[in-house]
C-alpha cells in the first residue's frame, strides 16, 4: 500500500455526478484537500471516487485548474496569475457558481478564492438596481422597506463611485 502511494505515476479515477469518469494523476488530485484527506486515510486509489455534486463540465474545468497549478508549483507566480485570470475570462455566471460549489466541496482554496472574487467583482461598484438585473434577484422589499434600507446604508453610497 505504502509503496504504491509513493509511486508518482499513480492515477485515480473520479466520477462526476452525470457518470463521466476522469483519470487523474495523483499529484494533480492532491491540489484538492478533500482528495488528499481521502488518500491519507488509506482510501484505496484503485476505487472510483464519486463526486456526486459536480457535473462533468465543471469537473473538467476544476481538473484543468488543478493540473496547471500542480505542474507549475515551482514555476513563476506571475505565470499562474495570468493563467488564473485567463481561466475565468468569458466564463458564464452559471459555470462560475458551479466552480465555487465544486471548489468548496473539493476544498481547493485557490480556486474558491479566484472564482468567488470574480463574482464579487461583478457585484461591486454597481448600483443595486443593476446588480438585481444581472443576477435576476427579485426585489422583495416593499417601497417603504427599501427606503429604510437605503437610508440605513446611505454611508455606502456617499463620496464613492
Amino acid at each position: 500500500m505504502a509503496s504504491s502511494i509513493e509511486n508518482n505515476n499513480e492515477k485515480l479515477t473520479l466520477k462526476s455526478s452525470d457518470g463521466e469518469e476522469f483519470l487523474v494523476e495523483k499529484h494533480v488530485a492532491l491540489q484538492s484537500t478533500l482528495l488528499q484527506n481521502m488518500l491519507d486515510s488509506d482510501c484505496s486509489s484503485a476505487d472510483v471516487i464519486p463526486l456526486p455534486k459536480i457535473d462533468a463540465r465543471t469537473l473538467a474545468l476544476v481538473l484543468g485548474y488543478c493540473k496547471k497549478h500542480a505542474d507549475a508549483s515551482s514555476s513563476k507566480q506571475g505565470e499562474l496569475n495570468s493563467f488564473d485570470s485567463e481561466f475565468l475570462k468569458d466564463m458564464d455566471m452559471g459555470a462560475l457558481f458551479n466552480l465555487v460549489l465544486a471548489a468548496n466541496f473539493m476544498e481547493i482554496k485557490g480556486l474558491l478564492d479566484i472564482a468567488a472574487q470574480k463574482i464579487a467583482d461583478t457585484i461591486k461598484d454597481k448600483p443595486h438596481q443593476e446588480v438585481r438585473e444581472i443576477f435576476h434577484v427579485e426585489n422583495d422589499y416593499t417601497p417603504e422597506e427599501e427606503a429604510a434600507v437605503r437610508e440605513e446604508n446611505r454611508w455606502a453610497f456617499e463620496g464613492f463611485p
Binding site: 465555487v100 468548496n104 463574482i119 461591486k124 427579485e138 437605503r150 455606502a156
Partner: protein
C-alpha cells in the same frame, strides 16, 4: 317523551365533545395564552400558495448561504452596504458581524487587536458594525481625509 329525551342527550353530548375536540385541533390552545402572545400554528411548508416558490436568481438556487458569505467576504464594506439594498437575503447576510470585525480590525489595525476589542466593548456596545459606522477613521481612497458619519 322519555324516549325522545334519552335520544337527544347523547346526541348533544356527542356534539359537545366533537366541538371540544375541534376546538383543540383548530387554534384555541389556552396554554399558549400563558406566554401573553397569540401564537398561531405554522402552516405546512408551501401551503400558502399552490405553486412552489422558485427563486429566479440562479445565484440563490446554486449557492448555499455559506457560499454567498464567501463572495461577500471578498468585497469592501462600502460594496457590502450597497449589496444590502439588493434584497432581504443579502441584507441579512451582510449583517454577519464577521465582515464588520474584519473591516474594523483592518481599518484600525494600528491599535492592535486587543485594544480594538476593548474599544468595541466600551464605546460601541459590542457591535463591530456600529464601530465601523461611527468611529472616526482616515480614508485613504484617492485622497486622504478624516471620515465620520454621525
Amino acid at each position: 317523551m322519555t324516549s325522545d329525551f334519552s335520544l337527544k342527550i347523547p346526541a348533544e353530548l356527542e356534539a359537545a365533545s366533537q366541538l371540544r375536540t375541534a376546538q383543540f385541533f383548530v387554534t384555541k390552545r389556552p396554554w399558549l395564552d400563558l406566554y401573553g402572545v397569540h401564537i398561531r400554528p405554522v402552516a405546512p411548508f408551501g401551503s400558502a400558495s399552490s405553486k412552489p416558490f422558485i427563486d429566479p436568481a440562479l445565484l440563490h438556487r446554486c449557492l448555499p448561504d455559506e457560499l454567498l458569505f464567501e463572495i461577500f467576504a471578498r468585497m469592501t464594506p462600502y460594496n457590502l452596504g450597497k449589496a444590502a439594498c439588493v434584497c432581504r437575503k443579502w441584507r441579512y447576510t451582510v449583517r454577519n458581524p464577521v465582515f464588520w470585525r474584519n473591516a474594523c480590525l483592518k481599518a484600525w489595525q494600528i491599535f492592535g487587536v486587543v485594544e480594538n476589542y476593548k474599544i468595541l466593548q466600551s464605546k460601541y456596545d459590542g457591535s463591530w458594525r456600529k464601530m465601523w459606522l461611527s468611529r472616526p477613521r482616515i480614508r485613504t481612497d484617492g485622497k486622504m481625509y478624516l471620515n465620520k458619519y454621525f
